[in-house]
Symmetry: C2
Subunit: 493 residues, 2 copies
C-alpha cells in the first residue's frame, strides 16, 4: 500500500496529495473543487468536531442552524464585507429544471428564474445578523452565544484536498454582546480555545497573534489567529477569531436597550475552524510511510494483527486477542482487530502505517506460547516484545498513547522552534526564506504599503503579530523605518 | 408566554405554527422556504442525531461527506430518478459576482457562467453512486455501509417549518451489497432502526409498511416506511428506506467481481430521516399549553424554579437547589436552575410549560422549612409535594421521567388505535375520512388507477401496505374488484 508513496524531501506537494488519497481520507469529486471526505477521513473530522463542540458548550455556546442561501443584496450591506466575500461565490439563479424537448435530458427552465439571485453562503455573518435583529431587543437578550456546524462554498480557482476546496465543512461562531470589552474578551477566549484544541488534541503547536489590517477578515475591526508550521517550512492559518465591533450591527440595524435606559448598537464576534485542520494535521506529523495521527484523534488507537498459519492458529490467537481487545476497550481505548484472511500480515502492517494507527499489536503462535505480544509505535516506528504478565496491559498501552501524543507534539514544536529565525536585514530575510523556510521574525514599519511590497518581492506574508512579542525598538527589514516589535513572516498555505 | 397560543381544536395549523415560533424551535428566514433552526430547537435535533448516529454505527455504518453540488447531467442518468427529482431544484449557473458599475451593489458576472449547471443536491444517490464506481471493484469491497449528515434543497412551493422546507437537514444512508438478499435485509433493518428510534426515543408509535408503486422513491424497486398519526388525524411519513435493486449501479456502471469469478452489478439501498421528525415530535405530543417533550429527547429534563422574596430567601433556596441539581446531574439527569431575577415564577412556569420541560421542581421558603419540594409533570400537568427525606430524589425523578416517557407513548398509541378504522364501503370510507380522520384500513384492488382515483375523490393517499396485515380476501372499497388485504389510507402531511 505505502509502496510508492512519494518522499517528502523530493516532492512535498505530491506526497501530500497521494497520502490524502491512499490513506482513504478524501478524494476529488466530479464537481470541480468539491471533495468527497471518505469514511476514514471523516471519522477523524468527527473526533475533532466532538472535542471542539464540547469546548464550545463548556464556554456557554449553543448550536443553531441558519440558511444555506443568502439573498444577493445582503452581501452589499456591510461595505468591506462585500469586497472580501461577494466575489467568488456560487450563484443560484433558477429553481426548476425541465425535460429537454429533444429528449436529451434536463435543461434549466427559463421561466423559473429567481427575482433575486441567491448566494450559497461563503460565510454567514450577513444572514445571521439579519436574524439577530429580531432576536435582540434588550440587554437581557445578551450575550447571544451561537455556533453552527455547516458547509460553505467559496469558488476557489486552485484547489487542494482539505487545504482549499470550493465546498468545505466548518463551524462558525457568531456572538452578540452589550459592550466592546465583552465582545473582545469573547474573541480572545475563542482564539485560546482553538489554540488549546490544536495543542492538546492535534498535538500541533501554534503561534497566537493578531492579523495586520491588510490580512483582517472583511468586516472585522480585529482578527486573531493561530498559525502553525508545516514540515515544508510553510505556515498554515489554523483558525481565526474576529472582533466585529459594531460593523454588522450597523449594517443590519441591530440595536438594544441598554441597562442604563439608552439604545446602542450591539457588539459582535465571529470565529471559525474548518476541514482545513485536517490538512494541518496531516502535514504536521506524517512521514514517508504515511499518516501519523495523534492518539487523541485517531479513529483506532490500537490495531491488533494476528500472525498465523491455518484456522487452528487463528482461533487460538483470536481468543487471546479478543480478551486483550475487551480489556483495552473497557479502559476507553479504541481497538480494531483485523483478522481478515484476504490480506497477509505484512500488507496489514503497511496499511496501518499508512493510516497512522498509533499502536500496532502483533500476535503469533510463539507469542501465545510465551505470553508475549509485539507492540509497535507508529511515531517512532520502533517495536518491542511485551510480557503480558509483567505489568497491566491497559497501563502499558495507556502510557504509550500518552507518550506518543506528547512525543509528536514535542517533535512538531522542536521543528517549529528550529524553523523560526530572527533576521535583521533584507538579505538575511530573503536568504532564510529561500533556503531554510519557516517563520521569519523581523521588524516591519507597520504600513500596508511595505507589507505588500515584501509580499511582492518574497511571496511571504505577515502571518501574525504574535501576542507574546517583545516590545523592542528596531528598523523595518525592508524600509529601515522605525518599528516597535517583530512580526512573523512566512510563505503560507 | 403561552398566553394566546391558539387552541388545537380551533385551528390546528395555526397552533402548530405559533408553537414552533413561541417555543423557540424555528422561524422563517428572509429566504423563501428556508428556516432558521433556533438554539432550543436545534438542541432537540442534536439529541435525535446523537441517538440515530449511535444506532447507525452499532449496525456497522460509518459517516462520510459527499459534495453539495451535482452536475446537471447526473440527474438524467437514472430514468425514473430524474422524473422524481430533477424538477424543483436550486440551480447554480454562475460562480462570480462583481460590483455594479453604477455603485448600487453587486451583480452576477455574466462572464462567470458555468459550462454545466450545478444542482444543489435534493438527495445524493447520483453523486454517491458515481463515486462508488471507483470504490468498488470486488466482493471484498462489499458491503459498503455509509451514511452522511447533510443539508438538502427541494424547491417546495408551499412550505411549513420542519414539515416542508426548501432546505432541510437530514441523514442519508447509501449502501452497496453483493446480493439482492443482503440489500433487502439492509433495507428492512434500517426501517426497523427508524421504527425503534421513533418508538423508544420520540415516544412515537409508527406503522411499518411498504409503499405502493405509485408512492415509491424515484429510482427504487421497493420503498419501506414508518407512518405516524398526528393529533389532527393526519398521517406523517417519518422515515423511508429504499431497496434500489441494481438501478443506480446500472445507471453509473458500478460492477464488482463476484466471489465465484463473475462480474455483476452491485445492489443498493438508501434510507433517510430529516428535520421533519421535529414536526412529528411536536405534533404528536404537544397540547394547548405548549410543547410536550419525551424525557429522552428533552434538552433539559428537569427545571428548578426558586420562589422567593429578597436576596436572603433566594440564597437559602439556592443552596438546596444546587445540592439537588448536583445529585440529579450525577445520575445523568439534565437539570436547569432558573434563578433569573428578571422574571417572576409564574412567568417561568408558563415558559417551561411552553417549552415542554418534562419535570418542574419549585422550591419556596416553606418547602425549605418542611424539607419538601413541589414536583410538577408536564405531560399530565399534575403537581405533588415531595418529602425529600422519604425516598431518594434521584430514584423519584428517574422513575418519573420513565413514567412520562411511557405515558406519552401510551397516549399517542391509544390515540392512533382509536384513529384507525376498518371500513368496507365507499360511503363509510368518505364518512370516516371527513368526520373522524385518521388511518382508514380498507381493501384496494392493487392498481395505480384506483389509487389515484381515490386520491382525487377523497384527498387520501395510501400511506402504506402494513407489514403485519392479515392476508384477507375482500373487495376494493372503490371498485369492488378483488383484493387480498387491507392497506392504510389517510390524509397526510
Amino acid at each position: 500500500m505505502s509502496k510508492g508513496l512519494p518522499k517528502r524531501s523530493e516532492d512535498y506537494s505530491l506526497w501530500y496529495n497521494e497520502l490524502v488519497k491512499r490513506a482513504d481520507l478524501a478524494e476529488n469529486s466530479a464537481v470541480r473543487g468539491c471533495m468527497v471526505i471518505k469514511p476514514y477521513g471523516y471519522s477523524i473530522w468527527e473526533k475533532m468536531q466532538a472535542e471542539l463542540d464540547r469546548m464550545f458548550k463548556e464556554t456557554g455556546h449553543t448550536n443553531a442552524y441558519f440558511p444555506l442561501f443568502i439573498p444577493k443584496s445582503y452581501l452589499s450591506k456591510e461595505a468591506s464585507h462585500v469586497e472580501g466575500f461577494a466575489k467568488e461565490c456560487a450563484v443560484v439563479t433558477h429553481y426548476r429544471l425541465k425535460n429537454a424537448e429533444d429528449g436529451s435530458g434536463v435543461i434549466v427552465d427559463p421561466e423559473a428564474k429567481l427575482e433575486e439571485e441567491l448566494i450559497v453562503r461563503p460565510t454567514s455573518e450577513t444572514v445571521i445578523w439579519s436574524t439577530y435583529k429580531n432576536w435582540i431587543q434588550s440587554y437581557r437578550d445578551l450575550p447571544l452565544l451561537v455556533n453552527q456546524w455547516a458547509n460553505v462554498v467559496r469558488w476557489e480557482m486552485r484547489t487542494r484536498l482539505f487545504l482549499r476546496t470550493a465546498e468545505f465543512l466548518w463551524q462558525e461562531g457568531h456572538t452578540a454582546h452589550a459592550s466592546a470589552k465583552e465582545a473582545m474578551d469573547e474573541t480572545v477566549q475563542m482564539m485560546n480555545v482553538y489554540a488549546q484544541f490544536a495543542e492538546e488534541f492535534m498535538a500541533l503547536p501554534v503561534v497566537k497573534g493578531r492579523k495586520t489590517e491588510n490580512e483582517r477578515f472583511a468586516g472585522a475591526d480585529e482578527t486573531f489567529c493561530i498559525e502553525a508550521m508545516m514540515q515544508d517550512g510553510k505556515a498554515l492559518q489554523a483558525g481565526t477569531s474576529h472582533f466585529l465591533g459594531q460593523n454588522f450591527a450597523k449594517a443590519f440595524d441591530v440595536k438594544f436597550a441598554t441597562k442604563e435606559g439608552g439604545l446602542d448598537y450591539v457588539w459582535g464576534t465571529s470565529w471559525g475552524v474548518s476541514t482545513r485542520l485536517m490538512g494541518a494535521l496531516i502535514m504536521a506529523h506524517s512521514d514517508d510511510n504515511g499518516l501519523v495521527l495523534p492518539p487523541k484523534l485517531a479513529p483506532h488507537q490500537v490495531v491488533i494483527v494476528p500472525i498465523y498459519r491455518g484456522e487452528a492458529e487463528l482461533e487460538a490467537i483470536s481468543v487471546k486477542a479478543k480478551e486483550i481487545m475487551s480489556q483495552l476497550r473497557k479502559a476507553g481505548i479504541s481497538v480494531k482487530y483485523d483478522d481478515r484472511d484476504t490480506q497477509k500480515p505484512g500488507w496489514k502492517f503497511a496499511e496501518y502505517e499508512l493510516k497512522g494507527v498509533p499502536v500496532r499489536i502483533a500476535m503469533g503462535p510463539r507469542d501465545l506460547e510465551n505470553g508475549t505480544i509485539e507492540i509497535a509505535r507508529r511515531d517512532t516506528l520502533t517495536k518491542e516484545s511485551f510480557v503480558l504478565a509483567e505489568m497491566s496491559l491497559v497501563e502499558k498501552i495507556g502510557g504509550l498513547l500518552e507518550d506518543i501524543q506528547a512525543n509528536i507534539y514535542k517533535k512538531a514544536n522542536d521543528f517549529r522552534i528550529e524553523k523560526t529565525t530572527e533576521v535583521n536585514s533584507w538579505e538575511e530575510f530573503i536568504e532564510v526564506l529561500e533556503n531554510k523556510g519557516g517563520f521569519v521574525s523581523a521588524h516591519w514599519d507597520g504600513t500596508t504599503e511595505t507589507e505588500e511590497k515584501i509580499k511582492e518581492l518574497s511571496k511571504a506574508t505577515i502571518r501574525c503579530i504574535p501576542l507574546d512579542r517583545k516590545e523592542e525598538v528596531g528598523a523595518c527589514v525592508l524600509t529601515g523605518k522605525p518599528s516597535n516589535g517583530r512580526v512573523l513572516f512566512a510563505k503560507a498555505y
